[in-house]
Symmetry: C2
Subunit: 356 residues, 2 copies
DNA sequence: CAGTCTATCTTTACCGGTACAGACTATAGC
DNA sequence: GCTATAGTCTGTACCGGTAAAGATAGACTG
């Protein structure tokens, strides 16, 4: 299959290659009559439109933006919250005709995707700031928007008020009178269950984890409460084992604050398995307001974030950065911190009235 | 920021441009000493490695493969099952250094991603076979693997036994003695709730829908049962309204077979809202064996598919196709239909023993 | 010591487009 | 009638690499 190129069409029609190029890319540069003739010949020859790579080389733009993922995609995408974020980004980008490339931050083999994948810009999503891949993005001079992580100096970050939300969650259970409170989270290694260990440094660099922990502690410290830390290894496995271990400790906690709704959901399942009533025996609070939160019985009290708004904000900021490279008169997009909202539902209130 | 190119490095070191290229791409083509010198100069000048677009143009490969999505990504990715499929594909591809580009099948504006995005191959995931985007992929001569959809003649398809699974689900509830059975699905338009309408043509072309419906009917027809069709508009909204309407009909069904676990989960929530016991008042069967199925109380009887195996199979088939283009002696990968398995749990059995 | 390798580097020729600066009309304005 | 102006089209010069074959020289073979 000999490839049909601009050149072959040009020869057939009897015009210059440039004119054929314009027929596709800049219709205003030639007469309609000629354009139609060119397009007809192109169709006849089976021309597929300008070659993406060649155009990309010539113009310096690729038509795709990358999303840098820290974790293995298997895990990240399995999480509905991350996936919805990605979906919102993709949809916000679609009208501009930009596709979205998933770029693994962790290199396997010699290919370094953050260096070798063609893209016009990138969104770094909840990455360890020390990842070499981030360096590559910057060295390439690509516009980058940082989501759920700190931006380097001058960078654009889109975050949510993780700390405030976690603090509100902690205050909520404290206000309900709970004193034995567990913090159900990740980042303490591979052992599921209650832990007295240190948060792993790499986990501490994940902003979402660090900030939610900080918020919880702010809320608990004020009441002089020392929490029970419970670890869930950061894999895709069901968190029920860790939850079971938590519920088996002497002086079992009466309330548990969870890093995410997905973890909270497993906690609720474990509570049911153990014959414990929620919220009567155990109050549970999640984070994210995942669809799970509404599907669970009782409905889950949680800190709502608008993950789709976050995705849209990130996409818009990145679009502005990409456009700003071409037109320096445009103002740079600003970092934003989106608000969160504590949603009190049946998993803590117990009152049917609040459970709608 | 003047770009550092191979040429500038070559001049600085005093060798040909080709040698510099080889220093990066084919280390065996030059002496180690020279290579080190070149890399040193490259580092000093801030060279970032070969430009992806230029390399892509010269070699004819892009280092990315596309995944064609029919629905808006916002919806597709929000579904944990789709998302896990995508994650499995991405992880299977990662060792080959291939990135993954999400390609919207529905064009917005003049850009046709399936035509304009650079890629080495594509996975079409549960698309309407009549989508123009599929044509573009074929006209480009790209290797394509079709997942959860029929492949065109000679194409490679990875599917699951949707029909057999649905049939097993139907037989299961029939065997339990149910006679008033609802089929909770999508594809009948925008009205939620029981319907007597026709399945929309575009929905009928979605293999997953068509096959699961066919399987259900095979199972019910054998028992002479006429089901109640219940429609859930194909949006991201919670399906509880449709479920509520279903439970409000006179002669309320005693069993409901659902297109997916996500829908089943909403049905169970609606049952709880209506004060109905599962499985006592209403038996519920899902499809997919989504993590939800295990988290729900009672646990959801469902048809298990291994979505990650599906993703891996698709990725492997595509890798084989891509490799086969270069080396025609390789055998073409074959279409596969992966098995499914009915998982009987508490939402139909009622027996505690089966609910573990 | 001629002949043949092998390793190393260079030369030539693309890959398939687009940007930008003319050049050549035809029309309009005065 | 002569010059602006706009509308079309062409020519040239890149974009930044890689493939494949050729050149050169020292090592090895018999």
């Amino acid at each position: 299959m000999a490839r049909v190129t601009l050149q072959s069409i040009a020869e057939r029609v009897g015009v210059s290659r440039m004119t054929v190029s314009n027929a596709f890319s800049r219709p205003d540069q030639l007469s309609d009559a000629l354009r139609e003739r060119i397009l007809a010949v192109a169709a006849e020859l089976g021309y597929l439109g300008p070659d993406p790579s060649a155009r990309s080389l010539a113009t310096g733009t690729t038509g795709t933006i990358g999303v840098l993922w820290a974790k293995e995609l298997r895990y990240s995408l399995a999480d509905e919250v991350s996936a919805r974020f990605l979906g919102a980004v993709a949809d916000e980008l679609a009208p501009s005709g930009l596709a979205l490339t998933l770029v693994p931050a962790i290199a396997e083999g010699s290919v370094v995707p953050a260096r070798d994948v063609a893209m016009d810009g990138a969104i770094a999503f909840s990455c360890d700031p020390e990842l070499p891949a981030l360096d590559w993005l910057q060295r390439r001079g690509l516009p980058v928007v940082y989501v759920d992580m700190a931006a380097p100096r001058g960078g654009v970050a889109i975050t949510i008020d993780d700390r405030g939300g976690a603090r509100a969650a902690a205050r909520h259970v404290v206000a309900l009178g709970h004193r034995r409170i567990a913090l159900f989270t990740s980042g303490f290694g591979d052992e599921p269950g209650p832990t007295t260990g240190q948060l792993l440094p790499e986990a501490g660099r994940i902003r979402v984890i660090a900030e939610r922990h900080a918020g919880w502690l702010e809320g608990l410290d004020a009441a002089g409460i020392v929490p029970l830390w419970v670890n869930q290894p950061n894999t895709y496995a069901d968190a029920r084992e860790a939850a079971r271990a938590m519920l088996a400790v002497p002086d079992r906690p009466t309330a548990v604050l969870c890093l995410t709704d997905v973890l909270a959901s497993s906690v609720m399942a474990a509570a049911a398995d153990a014959g414990l009533g929620v919220p009567g025996d155990l109050a549970v609070v999640g984070f994210d307001d995942h669809p799970l939160a509404l599907r669970s019985r009782p409905r889950l009290t949680t800190v709502r974030q608008d993950v789709e708004a976050k995705g849209r904000a990130a996409a818009q900021a990145l679009l502005a950065l990409v456009a700003g490279r071409a037109d320096v008169t445009l103002s740079r997009p600003r970092s934003r911190r989106l608000p969160v909202q504590l949603e009190v539902r049946g998993s803590t209130s117990g009152g049917v009235q609040l459970d709608r």
